[in-house]
């Protein structure tokens, strides 16, 4: 399977008079984990929504495999890129497995029922996200972490080479936050899925991504590996507060105190 090349060319977007993204260009490296960083309202989520056709850009293009996504049908896009949004809802009595099966909708047609491939992909998604033991349970009985896994499994069932996640760890206890991030990392390593995620936690962004993209006021201030582009000055530019950036042989972190 070939990795999907995703590039953004001179993308601009405004809500009314408020310019959220200002002529942004970037390339997402195939096969990597990229984290979008920045203060609230810097345009991270807007960028994610533009890349998945939830919003239409005022100017500029999003290219997937060299093609402008404006000309790609929603259904085809859903076979090539999946997204897990920050806010999710599902009926309390919906069985987890059934939710995961929704992920096959982009591949299904009205004329034929579920195929063996569908069952296989659903089973793989359940397996990969570690929710086999709760697959027959209703959504209403799950913890926050389990719910998030179920929605990630739905996205995985779409069988795409590209996965977007919008603040996947928000609202979760720290234990579940780390579990979700490890899961995302393993999806990248074991299945080669290109990951683009918005993370509001600086340390999680530094620890779990190959590339970070730092946004401030709708412009990109930094793009590259955390070690290359993140230092105390950059943190100040992105978040407006001066924090020490520490490193040892393996890790890099800031102390937000």
């Amino acid at each position: 399977m070939t990795a999907e090349m995703l590039s953004i060319e001179e993308l601009s977007f405004s809500y009314g008079d408020n310019r959220v993204l200002d002529c942004v260009s970037l390339d997402i490296k195939p096969g990597t984990v990229t984290a979008l960083m920045g203060a609230n309202a810097c345009g991270k989520t807007t960028l994610l929504n533009l890349m998945t056709k939830n919003l239409k850009p005022d100017a500029g293009r999003v290219l997937l495999g060299g093609r402008d996504i404006a000309g790609i049908k929603l259904r085809e896009l859903a076979r090539r890129a999946a997204i897990v949004h920050q806010k999710n809802s599902a009926p309390d009595d919906l069985i987890v497995k059934k939710l995961v099966a929704y992920g096959r909708i982009p591949h299904s047609s009205m004329l034929r029922g579920k195929t063996g491939l569908d069952d296989e992909r659903i089973a793989q998604a359940i397996e990969a996200t570690g929710i086999a033991d709760i697959a027959e349970r209703p959504m209403g009985s799950l913890s926050g972490g389990q719910r998030q896994r179920a929605f990630i499994a739905m996205a995985l069932a779409q069988d795409t080479r590209l996965l977007f996640l919008d603040e996947p760890t928000t609202f979760l206890d720290v234990r579940y936050q780390v579990e979700i991030l490890r899961l995302i990392r393993s999806l990248n390593v074991e299945r080669g899925i290109t990951i683009v995620m918005v993370l509001h936690d600086i340390n999680q962004a530094l620890a779990y991504s190959d590339e970070v993209i730092g946004l401030r006021n709708g412009k990109i201030l930094a793009q590259g590996s955390p070690r290359e582009v993140i230092d105390s000055d950059m943190i100040f530019s992105l978040y407006g507060i001066r924090l020490d950036v520490k490193t040892d042989g393996q890790h890099m972190w800031v102390l937000p105190v």
């Binding site: 049908k73 999710n88 599902a90 919906l94 099966a101 579920k114 929605f151």
Partner: protein
Amino acid sequence: MSAGVSGKRAARAVPAFVILAVAIVCLLLFSMKSGSISLSWGELLRGLFVEYDARVAAVYDLRFPRVLISLMSGAVLSCSGLLFQAVLKNPLADPGIIGISGGASFAASVVAAFFPSLYFSAPAFAFVGGALAFLLIYSLSWRGGLDPVRIILIGVAVSAVFAGLSAVVGGIGNASGVSLTVSGLSQRTWSDVRLLCVYAAAGLAPAAALAPACNLMALEDKAVRGLGVNVDVLRACISGVAVLLAAAATAIVGVIGFLALIVPHIARRIIGSDHRLLLPFSALLGAFVLLAADTIGRLLIAPHELSAAVVMSVFGGPFFIALLRRRARS
């Protein structure tokens, strides 16, 4: 695809459908024999199937259409409410309360007052009226999202406006000597039955086809779009069918509030939220409840009658308040 229903609920579905079907048949027979002309079982069955009986014939001409129309409009209205609840993501949506039926009724009353020859297209005009009301409510309520309570408030106001307009048209119509019977289940004939049959089928068939889509609407719009589904088109389709159903019932029986709120709510409790089961179950339960309301209205203060709409309001109003209070707490 039975995986969508939890084991407990799936096991419950079959007996629930059977019990409801039996209850409908019992109520149907009871309702047919009871009333100002009261028949025994023997008289009813003999008059229907064996030999002519003037009293049974009168019941056949007057009461049977009414009973059948109660059943059908109950089913149709409940499905309409269920679709509105799915598409507006609002468990409190009811075409009677939020003014869809009001718009439909207004259009139907205009036809009845000024173009009585267009009687058989009245539901079509009602559809246009209902659709306008829906667009009005939708656009007035939209603030980057649909707040459930805002829809109700706007809807109640829209409903009141249309009720007023209908009264105006009714007054003008009466002054010109045309009698108006746009409201209520009395005086219904077999031609009404046939008319409702056609429009009910035209609404219920696409509603059934849209049941899986209604399930998807329970996810966030963005999530549905992420699955490659054009959620805006889907919303328009479901809304259109919901308006059609509400309009069909309203054109024949007038505005009946609360039914389409209560029935899907109870049905959801019994059968779960999978619309492939919930839709047919709501249809049956709605048929039962409206026929029960009409039968109670006919018998309670005989020889006078209460309209089914009044009975539904008396029982439905408190139910609605209880739902609102529970939402406020949670």
